[in-house]
Amino acid sequence: MSLSKQHELHERRYGRNVGVGLVLVGLIAIVFGLTVVKVTRGDYETPATTSVSQ
C-alpha cells in the first residue's frame, strides 16, 4: 500500500478527528479568553501596600 493513499479508516474517522480538533481549539480559546479577562480586570494584581501615617 502506498503511503499517499488515504486509508479507509481515516475517511471513516474524519468527522471524529475534526470534532476533537474543534474541541481542542475551543479549549485554547477559553483559556486564552479567561486569562485576558482576569488579567485586564486586575484579578492577579498584588495588593498595594498602604502606609499608615501617625
Partner: protein, 313 residues
Amino acid sequence: MTDTSINTQSLSAENDAQFSDYFALLKPRVMTLVVFTAFVGLLAAPNAVHPFVGFCAILFIAIGGGASGALNMWWDADIDAVMKRTQRRPIPSGKVTGDEAFAIGMALSAFSVVFLGLATNWFAAGLLAFTIFFYVVIYTMWLKRWTPQNIVIGGAAGAFPPMIGWAAATGGVSVESVLMFCLTFMWTPPHFWALALFMRKDYDNADVPMLTVTHGRRATRNHILVYTVLLAILAVAAGFTSIGGPVYIVTSVVLNAMFLVGAYRIWRRDEDMSEEDNFLAERKFFKLSLLYLFAHFGAILIEAGLDKIGVWG
C-alpha cells in the same frame, strides 16, 4: 500477528463511534435544562458577572452535568439495554465501550470542576463536584435500584444547576437560590411519574423500583397529586422573593392552575380509563411539565432582565 489482525474490533465499520456518539454520552437534552437553569441562576443573582466569565461558568456547569450523564450511562448500561427509551444510547448500541464512557466521564468531571473554580470561585466548583458525586454515587449507584423514592432523590441532582449559577456569581447560597433548587426538585417527581405511567413496560422490564412497580399505579397517581399541590405552593411563594415579580407571579399562577388540573385528572382516572385513550391525560401532563419548568425559569430570567434595566424601579 499481522498488522491487519491488530485490534480488528476497533476497525470494524458498523461499530465505529462518531463524534456525535461521544457527545450523546453527555445527555444533550438533559444538558439543555442544566444550561438554561444555570444561566437563570447566574443572571438572577444580584452580582454582575463579566459576560465571558459567565459564558465559561455556564459551559463548565454544562460539561459537569454532561460528565455525570456519561458516568450514569457507564453504570446503567445494563438497564439501558433493556429499556426501549434508552436502547439506542451509545453503550447499549455498541458504539462506545463502558470503559470509554467511564474515562470520558471522569476526565470531564475533573476538568469542569477545576475550570469552574478557576473561572469563578471554589464554592461554586465544590457545589458542582458535589452535584456530580450526588448524581453518580448517591443516585445512580445507590438509590436508583434500591428505593421507589429514587426519582425524588435523583431530582435533587438536576436541581443544583441554578444554585451553582447563583454561587458562581455571588460565591454563596441564599433563600432565592434554594427556592430555585426546590422548584426543580419538587417538579421532578410528578414529571417522571407521569412518564412512568405511560412508559410502564420499560420500568417493569428493567427491574428498576419505580413507584408504579413497587406501590402500584394508584399510589403513583396519588403521589403525583400531592407533589403537584406542594410544588404549586412553593412555586407561587417564590414570586414574593427578590427573584419574583409581576411577570413571574402571573406565569406561575396560570401554569400551576393548569398543572393542578392535570394532576387532578390523572388522580381521578383509573387504569381502564387511561387504557381507553392511550394515557392521553398522562401524556398531556408530561408535555405540560416541560413547559412548566421552562416557563418558570423563563419568567425568573425576564424579571432579572427587567430588574437590571430598572423597570420595577
